[in-house]
């Protein structure tokens, strides 16, 4: 355990834990758009920037992103110093110029008193904040179907060569994790489309309810050692089946007693 000061309060944190976790545990809210528990910290949005110093730093201060800065003994952290607020406001202002319609950004900016960007709006702006969560979760899950392409201001998220990604299994994790709902997909209960690819859904043999895509199920069978027949029913049919099985056992027991 280490002891540090956050906004004047002495707090204890686990060694190796990130500053952001300790800050949030204190109930302090700071924006952090590229952070998600499922993936490694990344440090792209810089919104979680905080000011740090130590008693023996001779007044020297530093700005670090709390999502990937490990807690340290004796660290003195301010989450809302003047400099930090200025950084956060500028970043939100810049974000708004690129993603004026992204609700997430609008709300965060509003909290910092910004309703419109003070910069020139980016002509081809969209809702993607380039947090990289989608590509990172896709990597983490082992598919690596999509990635960021290009660099600089023209960077974007796309499947390789801009074509339907061969490694995609249609799990929708990217669309689910996207903080601005930028990744579009359709699902009519029979087929699912995402990234320009169509996937057939597995249907429950009993209820006809769709579950996950055939490709995703096949992946789990192959790489995660899940028996194939687990996927033949939906969750509610599984429960019914369990109840019936248990009923059979119990009923059978009662008859014996009688």
């Amino acid at each position: 355990m280490v002891t540090l000061t956050i906004n004047g309060k002495l707090v204890r944190a686990r060694e190796g834990e990130m500053l952001l976790d300790a800050i949030r545990r204190e109930g302090i809210e700071i924006p952090a758009t590229c952070q998600h528990e499922a993936v490694e910290p990344y440090g792209a949005c810089r919104l979680c920037t905080v000011e740090i110093t130590k008693a023996d730093w001779g007044g020297w201060k530093n700005h670090v992103t709390s999502c990937l800065y490990p807690v340290q003994e004796g660290l003195i952290v301010s989450t809302h110093s003047e400099d930090v607020i200025r950084i956060r406001k500028t970043i939100l202002d810049l974000f708004l110029a690129r993603c004026p319609n992204a609700e997430l950004i609008q709300n965060m900016a509003a909290e910092y008193g910004i309703t419109r960007t003070s910069y020139e709006e980016v002509p081809d702006g969209n809702d993607c904040i380039l947090c990289g969560l989608c590509t990172r979760v896709c990597d983490k899950m082992g598919f690596q179907a999509i990635s960021t392409v290009g660099r600089g201001h023209g960077k974007e998220v796309a499947p390789p060569l801009g074509e339907a990604p061969p490694d995609c299994v249609g799990c929708l994790a990217c669309a689910q994790i996207c903080p601005t709902n930028y990744i579009k997909f359709t699902d009519d209960g029979t087929t699912r489309t995402i990234w320009g690819r169509e996937f057939e859904l597995v249907k429950c043999e009993t209820t006809g309810q769709p579950t996950i895509t055939k490709e995703f199920a096949a992946y789990l069978v192959k790489h995660r050692n899940i028996p194939e027949d687990y996927f033949t029913r939906c969750d509610s049919a599984h429960r019914e089946e369990l109840a019936k099985t248990m009923g059979r056992i119990t009923h059978w027991g009662r008859q014996e007693e009688a």
Binding site: A44, C45, R46, S118, R151
Partner: protein, 617 residues
Amino acid sequence: MCITSSRQLKQVRKEFLDGDARFEKKVMICCGTGCLANGAQEIVDEFDSILRKKRIKGFTIEAVRSTGCHGFCEQGPLVIIEPRGTFYTKVKVKDVADIIEKSIRSDEVIDKHLYTDPATKQKIERYPDVAFFSHQQRIALRNLGKIAPHNIKDYIANGGYQSLAKVLTTMTPDDVITEVSKSGLRGRGGGGFSAGRKWRSCADVESDTHYVICNGDEGDPGAFMDRSIMEGDPHSVLEGLAIAAYAVGAKEGFVYVRDEYPLAVVHMQKAIEDCRKEGLLGENIFETNFCFDVHIARGAGAFVCGESSALMKSVAGEVGEPRAKYVRSVVKGLHDQPTVLNNVETFANIPIIFEKGADWYAGIGTKKSTGTKVFSLVGKVRNTGLIEVPMGITLRQIIFDIGGGIIDDRPFKAVQTGGPSGGCLPESKLDLPVDFDSLTENGSMMGSGGMIVMDDRTCMVDVAKYFTDFLVKESCGKCVPCREGLYQLHKLLVKISEGRGEESDIDRMEQLSEVIVNASLCGLGQSGPNPLLSTLKYFRDEYTAHIRDKRCPAGVCRELITYNITDECTGCMACISACAYHAITGQKKKVHVIDQEKCTKCGACVAACRFNTIDVR
């Protein structure tokens, strides 16, 4: 054959020099990329084909050496005849027969191939007397232009691999690091971090695996110092790398070469293979326990891949994006193992430090910035090219003594150092000693050694705009302050250069810059506003002129200038036919007029006018 001792190295050296003693003369033909582009290979081929037909006493094709870059590319192809050092510039294939006849069979000097000093208009015969070379001190470039880079024996004949032999057989890793620290060598790739300290931190990390990497990404536009070293003297880089590997306990090393440098890859690869053959790479080098091998990693062609964490990701086959370095790469670098990354030039300095001693090296340059630095001197100076000078030399000496002053004797305006995220220094800073700290203190930086000289016809707003645009495109796009911030900074600069600027824009740019510097993830973003901030610092009035007076004092920003024909016009009509937009009207021998409505400010008329009567302001 395997070389296993210092004695054997000496033997190789002796054999090579004995072989050379057969020749009365030797010819060095520069085959650096610049000279190759101008036909150097054809010249080598011509020597070959003539010498096949003709026998000359004390001279064969073996005495013709294709060397690495001499640095004076604009005068290429260069041919030097040793032992006199006769220096022929801009040699063509058809000149070869003449050179063989006159300068090799006899001792005649062919005047028309000699270099003319632009200042004195005098012909200069020997290359050490050429001002461009005479003010230099070549340490990292010591072998460039002297040896054939693809011949390991030539390198050994010049003392090569003796330092490695000495290090491996007589010194402990600890001694090696102490020696490097004592030399005061600081990294030449940009940051200027002490090489000894870096090695020490890496060596101190307990791990089974350590790596050493040579950074040959060199993404700065116009820079070619690392390329020239890798092409012209690959073995000194390898020797430096091997010494570093021994010091930190690495068994594997990488040379990361920018993808645009195919010749560097070829020469580096050949050097590595030759070393393996001679036993200078591989198992039990010099019959010690030291085992080390080197691989080439090809760059991804992005400026940001030169950044240490991005480079290591790229070497590992991932997307070359920087990561936050709250844990430094000497502790957790390539494949999360402790890693030393140094620049090409840094490594090229290592062997000579062990040859001549750390004290000797520390005696060159200034106290805090020891040794020399290679610069690529370009822009509006008479002599452009690759130069190496001791630290502490002034900008004036570089620009006026080596560079020969400004072209057409126009006034000097600024010099940009440090690559795209460096800064511009004005005339008042010409006597600034060039070293890591003084450049940084004055708002610029050493960077990897780009140096662009600008004259009075350069607009500083335009310069800031150009470099900011470069950085917007080269930013990896990962973090917001850099990706969006630099983009907006560039937009504001465009606005100002187009005459739409407002007084408040300067403040806005300064505030935004501060956030970009403080909040960006890697060095690119953190230093990205430098071009803007340094020009604002020294040329603020130029910004005000653009904003308040809607005027570009240097006559560069299109939206703010007009072309007018003055009364001195002779009426030659040359400009009329040069203008593709039919904006110029007039009769023979009468003053012509430019129709401002039609003029697109392309400048074709200025180029066509022989009497300098078109006024741009």
